[in-house]
């Protein structure tokens, strides 16, 4: 077996990704994201060390990492890693370059645009709500614009993920996604959009936690 696929970090990532999918099904999205992120970090660390004479291995580990970052909701890291691997394109085959470019473009679309650059008023005090820091809105007006933009970007992201997965979205579901202005709800829907089988499942009420499912099958099976 090739040593990068057999790397203990990859083996651990396989278990983390498996458990993450189970956590998603239980509706434990915070845990799912953390597990996906841990898996992504491990896949990425190993992928970057695969030499150029193993382009398939490098490609598949990199794709596993990029996809896991996306499942964790960290589209920024997904895009950053894809760019980094593509920058060392000689170590990828044609398939790897094409697939990672596609993923990078797909996930880059999901990144919210930066907040608009504020124009300071010429005279008078500024209506600040917080200390101005990079990337944060500086006034109530700008905060409103920023939040509206974030909501619209997240709704677009949900629809883009469903479209990329080939899932048909009815007019009713589309209207519900576009009308939602609650960012935490949209966060949940965005994560669901990456995993559910139908668009209606994105906006359904949260599923109840499974009875007896707290330990995870992998852990229980390990004890059996």
């Amino acid at each position: 077996m090739n040593p990068w696929m057999a790397d203990p970090r990859v083996e651990k990532a396989e278990v983390d990704a498996f458990e993450a999918e189970r956590a998603e099904r239980r509706g434990d999205l915070a845990n799912a994201r953390a597990l996906h992120h841990a898996a992504a970090d491990a896949f990425a660390a190993v992928a970057l060390g695969v030499p150029a004479d193993h382009p398939n291995t490098r490609t598949d580990l990199a794709i596993a990492a990029v996809a896991s970052y996306a499942r964790a909701g960290d589209f920024g890291r997904a895009v950053e890693l894809a760019r980094r691997v593509l920058a060392e394109g000689d170590a990828l085959g044609e398939r790897g370059r094409r697939e990672l470019t596609r993923l990078m473009r797909q996930y880059a679309m999901l990144l919210a645009p930066p907040p608009p650059e504020p124009t300071p008023p010429a005279l008078g005090p500024r209506a600040t709500t917080q200390s101005p820091t990079l990337g944060e809105p500086r006034s109530d007006l700008l905060r409103g614009i920023y939040e509206k933009g974030a909501v619209e970007a997240e709704a677009r992201s949900i629809l883009a993920v469903l479209a990329a997965r080939g899932i048909t979205v009815s007019d009713a579901v589309r209207a519900r996604i576009v009308a939602c202005t609650d960012i935490p709800t949209l966060d949940v829907w965005l994560t669901r959009a990456a995993v559910v089988a139908t668009a209606s499942a994105v906006v359904r009420a949260k599923a109840p936690a499974r009875a007896g499912g707290g330990g995870g099958a992998a852990r229980q099976a390990h004890k059996a």
């Binding site: 396989e14 990704a17 193993h54 596993a64 896991s68 059996a224």
Partner: protein, 172 residues
Amino acid sequence: MPDLPVETELSRPVAEALALAATVVLDRVHGPRARDQAVVHADDSERAAEIHRVPIDDRARATYADAQEATEEGAEGIAVLLARRMLGRIVFRRLPKGTGADYLMRDPGANDSDAYERLECSGIADGQESATARLRSKIEQLARFPDQPPGRAVVTHFRQEPVEIRLGSFPT
């Protein structure tokens, strides 16, 4: 199913979970027993097979209380073993969803460690969909990633008796 962890190179917790899931589904649709008869359809041929279950208890049943989850993971367990027993391939890694394949498998006789194949898995435990129709859609799924290494798809219809297992390939 008891041999699944040693017949693959998957991490042991994942392999054991797949064997457990397959047994829970079979227990649910056919009742408690130690073995299930199966028929494997590959290309134009068919072959009788027998599925040996692993021991389960109420805790295992509770863990797999979600029938869809049990069916999906149970079908993965069947497919992984079928790859070993019928195709002579060793499944060595389960991939996260969204990567274009469920599993990667290798030919143990091949020298090139960078050459491997994809394995797609699917299961049916209720509803009206046939295994043939599901296999067709899985092959279409493999065909959507033509750049990727060659792939096989395995669909298991647990409710049929004998259990119906269908194997397909891309490219055909």
